[in-house]
């Protein structure tokens, strides 16, 4: 009888804790919607598709920020993904044990570096380097692509994407490494035993089994990139513009919220900023949902 009573208590407690999560999310959604009610009713759908951000005449449109957020995160992912995969493969399959330990430690340290330090480094070291070396080079040889046109200013979309990529590499690499490590040795040896090379074992045995977990890791990294504020604010240029060129300055949802919240004086201004937060929240949710879908699709249909 005693144990059954215990079971019931545990069940109730865990139910309670689980519902706290739901309540928290519901609370956040409620606050975001009620806070942005004024902006929602004033601008409606125009808020999403217009580019004017004018606190003086109280006209607000979020498009450049949505663009800046999604594109910078996407660039980050494009750069971080292959690097992280390489790191994860190296750490789980190729590196000698000693190297493994040290490199893993470094990666975890990279993840622990405060965002502001990345921002400072980005601003004082990376962007000048981009401006002087990388961007002129890209412009000279790949300038026929609109992505690499325009004056090299250093701060801008490319810098933002780069700094984000550095920040999400530890997340993606370490989670992917952990997933690779969970693939049973027996499974890999099955591959070796039929004459697979090391690379074939990675590509045909490890990767397929790690797929859903890898999508999760990628989406976690992407989520971190979407929400990252401090570092990217310092290097992306903070100009609400939509440009095809990676060299030109841009602005992200989180950056504009961080930059302008203290100076938002009118109610509609504050409300618009909260609507930006709501958008950021929704975008994160959408990508999370896509990740879940991909994971489900990736599973073997048995």
């Amino acid at each position: 009888m005693g144990t059954r009573f215990g079971d019931r208590i545990i069940k109730l407690l865990s139910l309670l804790f689980a519902s706290i999560i739901i309540l928290l999310i519901a609370g956040i959604i409620y606050e975001l919607i009620s806070g942005s009610a004024r902006s929602l009713s004033t601008f409606g759908w125009r808020f999403l598709v217009t580019s004017t951000w004018d606190p003086v005449s109280k006209v607000f449109g979020a498009l450049p920020f949505i663009f800046g957020t999604v594109v910078s995160s996407f660039i980050a992912l494009c750069i971080a993904l292959p690097l992280s995969m390489g790191i994860a493969i190296f750490l789980s399959e190729l590196a000698p044990k000693k190297v493994r330990v040290y490199v893993s430690l470094m990666i975890e340290m990279l993840a622990a570096v405060p965002s502001i330090i990345y921002g400072l480094w980005g601003l004082f070291v990376m962007t000048p380097f981009l401006q002087v070396h990388v961007e002129p080079f890209l412009g000279r040889y790949l300038g026929f692509i609109p992505l690499f046109q325009g004056p090299p200013v250093g701060v801008g979309m490319l810098a933002g994407g780069l700094i984000l990529s550095i920040m999400i590499i530890p997340t993606i690499a370490s989670i992917t490494r952990d997933i690779f490590n969970t693939i049973p040795t027996l499974s890999k040896e099955a591959g070796y035993a039929i004459g697979m090379t090391r690379w074939e074992v990675i590509a045909k045995v490890v990767f397929p089994q790690a797929r859903s977990g890898m999508v999760g890791a990628i989406m976690l990294g992407f989520g971190r990139a979407l929400g990252e504020t401090m570092a990217i604010t310092m290097v992306i240029g903070n100009a609400p513009a939509i440009s095809a060129s990676l060299f030109s300055p841009a602005y992200t949802l989180s950056s504009v919220i961080a930059n302008e919240f203290t100076e938002a004086t009118s109610k509609i201004y504050i409300s618009s900023l909260i609507e930006l937060a709501l958008l950021l929240f929704i975008i994160s949710m959408i990508f999370n949902a896509i990740a879940k879908l991909l994971i489900r699709k990736g599973r073997f249909s048995a």
Binding site: A190, Y192, I194, G195, A302
Partner: protein
Amino acid sequence: MTKKLVIEHLNAWFGTIQALKDINLDIEENSVTAVIGPSGCGKTTFVRCLNRIHEVVDNAKVKGNVLLDGENIYSNTMDPVLVRRRIGMVFQKPNPFPTMSIFENVAAGLRLNGTKKKNEIADVVEKSIKMAALWDEVKDKLYKSATTLSGGQQQRLCIARTIAIEPEVILMDEPASALDPISTARIEELIQQIKERYTIVIVTHNMQQAARVSDYTGFFLLGELIEFNRTSDIFTNPGDKRTEDYITGRFG
């Protein structure tokens, strides 16, 4: 008697622990050779040295020669990947590739070898699954995940996967130890059927099994080969006291 494999002064280590000590023995073509011995005696390590899969493990080391048709698989010019295509292996626990279908599991090795024609692959897959005595059970669900099969079926699938690449030697590391008696009997039957075409080395901790399926038996103890002889001789007239003690169940 044609010697398929000649093992000369084979030593193996895990880090600083020596798992095999100076093993010398010949394995005859188209025979079944059983490797018996108590747990930890090195029998699994021994077969894992024969297809160079021992060295895949961290810190594992091998010294000595293993001649396959007179050619040393441990010579510098030998590619372990090619060795493993000639010397296949079935593991203790069934390990089909979980993300592949039944068909793909068997086809996987063929695709590596560069066989590209669809119908050719389908033929070999069917032939291999038939030879592994699994065809009737899976012919209607070839494209389902291999993990939907029972343990015994999975193990026969692994045998089919090994057969498909047409190795010359098949190593089996306690292939039936995780299976029920009926599945075990099927695997043993299968060994009898395929030994005409392959040279088989089977590790087993089940002495009855060794007696039933093998032509030759090697008894390992603490990393050493104590005795190697015809199975009938080993079981009726062991030459070493330790072999006798083991097969009569006095230890191990």
